[in-house]
Amino acid sequence: MRIEETSALLAKVQAFDNRNVDAAVLSAWSEILEPHTLHDCLAAVTEYYRSNTGWIMPAHIVERVRAMEEARQHQFKNGCHLNPADEDKIFATGDSESWSKAMRALNRAARTGVLTPAAYDAYQSGDEPLEAFLTRKAIQ
């Protein structure tokens, strides 16, 4: 999540608790929430205030966002794997770091909801590299 998106999240929080936000507050929140998406964080704020009246902190959001991400990942019964085209391409380079980087991107896509189980099936049955596949999905 970019810092501009964090400001949108904090604006929503202000709507609930009328807190004061300055550059320091924004930077601190942005540092913690950077790995997560704005969509999930906004949903986490809504969920928090649905059952709480207290002062919300980044930890409250991270806790809920992680629960959402795990729930998404559990939808992939057999885990997530690169498709044959990506595997061949990475094995050809012989670079283990490239393999780790590609797997992290795949898992992140699955956890954040960018890659749904149906999209994953389409990715597995095709020969399109993950990055190109996700870009095309995003454009669509």
Partner: protein, 249 residues
Amino acid sequence: MASDRLFFKLHNGFPEHPKAIELSDKAFRQLIEAWCYCSRNLNDGRLSKAQFLKLFSAKSRKELLSVGFVMESENGYEMHDYLEHQQSAEQVENRRNKRAAAGSMGGRAKANGLASASSHAKQTASKSVADTDTDTDEVPKGTSLPRSRGQRIPADFTVAPAMVAWARANCPNVDGPRETTKFINYYQGLSGAKAVKLDWVATWRNWMLNAAERAPQGKPTTVDKMQSTLELGRRLQAVQDGQQQLAIG
């Protein structure tokens, strides 16, 4: 309330005055009675022989003439230095005429005020109502009218368009209708001197200025804060993007 009673001046050290000490009780009393008589009859301290004989006993006449409180004159007798200390008949008459004129003006002004639907007209009218409370009050020098009296808040006190325009210009943060209601309620419920004012429009303006001082000045609303946060985010993002471009470059 106006009073037609007249008073005459008597120094509080008079009983110890060297001349007064020489008088018998009877002569002293008759001297006071004679001054009262002169004041009541506006004769400027002059007594005919008949009056002189009627007012004083033979012994008192002798005492008063000898110490000099009463003096013989061409047409009879005269109280010593009466006009030096007391008002002359002419002065009393002038004062009565002025008071009558002021009362007449006040009555006309009150009538005009009742006829007018405008509270402002009442305010103006009230300024010319005469003060006829006390006998010793004098008309202020340099003015043709006596001092004005205040009045309680008019029952139909309303805020004229000009007053609304003034409030918008001078007290923009004040809830005008609410403060006006509070103003009317306060002065309708108040008793005593504080409930009487010369100029209710000016009093209302003062109330509004006080309300403006109490009103929160420029406190940001939640929406203001949210907009500020979004603007801050855009600014920091631009800075961050600029730094990244520099790093790439």
